[in-house]
């Protein structure tokens, strides 16, 4: 019996996709730093691409929830930022006596500058352990993970789903942003954390050694991304992957098959929070700043859009989407400052309307179009 062409390569396409992603990322991990070390690729480009890779991590976390599990979270930017803040606290404390207040002798305790600014004389207790790199990295996982666990537990237990889930996650991130905007919160208020100097003893700003540190961060980002892809690929192959997709397509059926879907969703939600948080933690030293603007609902929606544009429910889609939209932004804000938001908006609109599978579905579409020459093409219907 012959099968429809689109369905037979179900497994094969998945492996192929992973191989493509893996090879590309490996190349990126090796070639970009090499070029940069030989002065053929500017430091600017390395840092820029390092940030794109972090955004790709954020996009994957969105895709894991939305593309694979059917949970449209509008709060992933929150976990990204929380990860960034946790690591940022470490970086802030590393500044120590290199800050401008310390230089002028007004800061004997080596507090972050913004605290001296607001009249603090001693470090708040919850800041103190962040002197340790290990502890900070642990917190990058623990804090976003705990928040995801608590929020997810409440939300999934009471079976909040669909639109309700989206709007609730939006409210969560909005509330958190308001919280972080407050200067009383001693997390830097609107200005957030900036002016990082050192990471694990390596300078971020020195003209001689700084580029090497940035290169290291780039390689770290690429490797983390590769690891996450490996993990996602593995997950797809397990029964867990099957259950997760089944939840997306028909949660009731899964419930009546004896699966506690809430636990599965909670697991995915926490894992997605981890991934976003790691992305944020790597983002902060490369971007040089983290502030509450990064956790507003808008930023979350943007990440969702990257995934939609790239192609959700795929491994490569979110990566392509995150990199291409951000590269477009870097270019268009300079070339068309007045109309680039319109360009961006139109892309969202057109992708949703005419290309629900995103950019990764383009080759298949073109192929199908060629094959069916003359025959009417089925209108695109997405999975709801």
């Amino acid at each position: 019996m012959s099968l429809p062409a689109t369905d037979r390569p179900y497994f094969r396409s998945r492996h192929l996709e992973f191989i493509v992603v893996g090879v590309l990322l490996l190349l990126l991990t090796v070639i970009f730093p090499l070029l940069n070390a030989h002065g053929l690729l500017s430091d600017f480009t390395i840092t820029l691409w390092g940030k794109y890779l972090c955004y790709a991590l954020l996009a994957i976390s969105v895709d894991l929830l939305w593309g694979y599990t059917g949970l449209l979270s509008l709060g992933q930017a929150l976990f990204f930022s929380l990860g960034g803040y946790m690591f940022g606290m470490y970086l802030m404390l590393q500044i120590g006596m290199l800050g401008s207040y310390a230089k002028s002798g007004q800061n004997p305790n080596g507090l972050p500058d913004f605290m001296v600014f607001l009249g603090h004389t001693f470090l708040p207790p919850f800041w103190r352990p962040f002197q340790s790199f290990g502890f900070s990295v642990l917190m990058v996982f623990v804090i976003p993970g705990l928040l995801a666990l608590a929020f997810g537990f409440l939300a999934f237990r009471s079976r909040i789903k669909g639109v309700y889930f989206s709007i609730l996650t939006q409210a969560l991130t909005y509330g958190a942003a308001l919280m972080f905007f407050r200067n009383d919160f001693t997390m830097g208020g609107n200005n957030g954390f900036t002016d990082f100097k050192l990471i694990l003893g390596h300078s971020l700003v020195d003209n001689d050694t700084g580029p090497a540190t940035m290169r290291g961060l780039f390689i770290a980002s690429a490797l983390v991304l590769l690891t996450v892809c490996l993990f996602c690929h593995w997950l797809n192959g397990t029964k867990f992957g099957l259950v997760r997709q089944a939840i997306r397509d028909g949660e009731n059926r899964v419930l009546f098959s004896g699966y506690a879907t809430a636990n599965f969703k909670l697991f995915v939600f926490v894992v997605a929070a981890f991934i976003a948080a790691v992305g944020g933690a790597l983002f902060v030293p490369q971007a040089g700043i983290i502030n509450p603007d990064q956790m507003t609902p808008d930023k979350s929606i943007e990440a969702v859009v990257w995934v939609a544009v790239g192609g959700r429910g795929t491994l490569i889609g979110p990566i392509i989407g995150a990199i291409s939209i951000n590269a477009l932004r870097s270019w268009a804000t300079q070339a068309y400052p007045d109309s680039w938001l319109i360009i961006l908006g139109l892309i969202f609109l057109l992708v949703v309307l005419f290309l629900p599978g995103g950019m990764v579905s383009l080759p298949g579409k073109i192929k199908a179009l060629r094959k069916s020459q003359g025959k009417p093409v089925e209108p695109a219907v997405a999975r709801a």
Binding site: L235, T238, K239, F240, L242, G250, N252, R253, A260, N263
Partner: protein, 257 residues
Amino acid sequence: MSHPILTVEDVSKTYDGFKAISDLNFYLFEGELRTVIGPNGAGKSTFFDLITGRAKPDKGKIEFGFEPDSHDLTDLNEYEINRLGIGRKFQTPSVYVEHTVWDNLVLSLKGPRGVFASLFKRQSSTDRDRIADLLKLIRLDGKRDWKAGLLAHGEKQWLEIGMLLAQDSKVLLVDEPAAGMSDEETHRTGDLLISLAGKHSIIVIEHDMTFVKQIARDNPVTVLHQGHVLCEGKFEEVQSDPKVREVYLGRGKHGTR
């Protein structure tokens, strides 16, 4: 056959003032094949919803099993009830349309249901053999790599029955299994259900009277009307019961569709 495996007593359920189930008493015995019929709106699907935890009764008790191993189902939710051994097939076929036929069965196969088990458990060769057997039984072995969404309506019904069998539940709740099937397929379904009785306890909801006749030959039939049991007995007794005739005929149709 002495103990009821499923006990439903004095159960009522109201939706927005409409009494879907009122003071229902129902007992299912081990190994029994019970057919439930009743006009539209008699509360048949709500009855299943209450047993499977999709809806909670306003009052009454629903118990599964017998002492010392009995469970109050009203306190449990869907997946807990399923894990106790109650499987359900829905009225409209409910399969995972984006998964292959094979994966649909993998998901339903009896076994641990936890998050971590599903992460690390590998498929054993017994599992694969079991699925292959089931595929043959439901005659979908040629389409094992098809996405379930691409199957015909009848095939989906079969797949769902296969999924139910894969779960190996003690009690099977089967809601209109014959809808969308050809006469031949319907008959085969009937045979299958009859063959399952004894090993499993089964409740079948059905409209198709030919089908009911087939499966209820030696088995009791329950007639639901306005949320409670109108009468219970052998198919012929029920068919000749004046109350039943009034319920069906009064609505101008005799249950053949």
